[in-house]
Symmetry: C2
Subunit: 198 residues, 2 copies
């Protein structure tokens, strides 16, 4: 309305992003106006590239620009362990830790009957296919520690029980660097239950 058309269109685009309202969108759009041309060109190209060049790995479901992804094709990784996560961002969180060298399987969601999401709607059938072909010894069920994540883990664990596969779940307890005072009761009760001997 009061803006020249190119800037009002950019404001609209920024407003489509999560957590960005009209004021922030306006501030960002005006900031772009004063950015270096090459930075804006990079930004514009990256947006298109992310949308056009990225896909999900046909093996594990992680986002990738080559298929299969760099994790699935990495010969140095341990193919006998698969870590099952809900989201591609979880893979990145795990990789940042630099301690896990097994494979991944991304579910792209969790079972949630309330939202009408069943086992067939997430990447579980592909996981079962993988278990048939690959020589897997352990399945780490690293779904989120909430109701949906827990029930998804439980569901998968029961599903693979007949195959005799070892399934594990990430430990519950106090976060490192956290404050006991601020821990919720459920976390605290888990921390007591799974206390370790020194």
């Amino acid at each position: 309305m009061h803006y020249p058309e190119p800037i009002s269109k950019l404001i609209d685009s920024f407003m489509k992003l999560p957590g960005i309202g009209p004021k922030t969108a306006q501030r960002l759009a005006f900031y772009v106006l004063n950015m270096k041309e090459e930075d804006v060109v990079d930004f514009s190209r990256s947006l298109m590239k992310v949308k056009r060049e990225l896909q999900f790995c046909s093996v594990c479901g992680h986002i990738t620009d080559v298929d299969p992804c760099y994790i699935c094709t990495d010969k140095s990784r341990d193919r006998s362990i698969i870590c099952v996560v809900q989201d591609t961002k979880d893979v990145i969180a795990m990789e940042k830790m630099r301690e896990y060298s097994g494979m991944y399987h991304v579910l792209h969601g969790a079972i949630s009957p309330m939202d009408g999401i069943g086992p067939e709607d997430i990447n579980i059938p592909a996981l079962l296919e993988r278990l048939k072909d690959e020589n897997v010894k352990e399945l780490i069920l690293a779904t989120n520690p909430n109701i949906e994540g827990e029930s998804t883990a439980m569901y998968i664990s029961r599903l693979v029980k007949p195959i005799g596969l070892k399934t594990t779940r990430l430990a519950h307890g106090l976060p490192v660097g956290g404050d006991l005072e601020y821990a919720d009761e459920v976390t605290l009760s888990k921390a007591i239950e799974y206390r370790t001997e020194l």
Copy 2:
């Protein structure tokens, strides 16, 4: 590092924007991944357009896609009043009010000896040229109500005094909808000083 290249480049681009740190940039980049293709194309194009098609109006200094801008060429506006503001965003704020129908002059800054910004570094010479040519009766000095803005207003006001031009300054006082309790002392003292009779 752990991200496919296109997404890590997009994260870098988002991080160049003000107020966006690594976590938010990651969240936004992953959000883009799931956006509708046409929205991403629009976003990407708008970025380029803002940078390539927008310029400053050669008359008033406001951002525009046509030169002179739509305000300077609007025949229905009152050409005898010029409102002097620091920033293009101030023009937009004034326009949103829908009560001012005069012209604008954008300084793109304020005099600030501390930062080495003198009268020649901001859009003041162009203002003086305009005053020579155009039939202006009043100059509203709407620079920001802080030290730099006040001294810029004072400077311009003294500069145009010999021409016998009427210069005015926006009123100080309590913001509408504000709380007296939270008003700072300077604002309150201005509000008392310029109190109006009912």
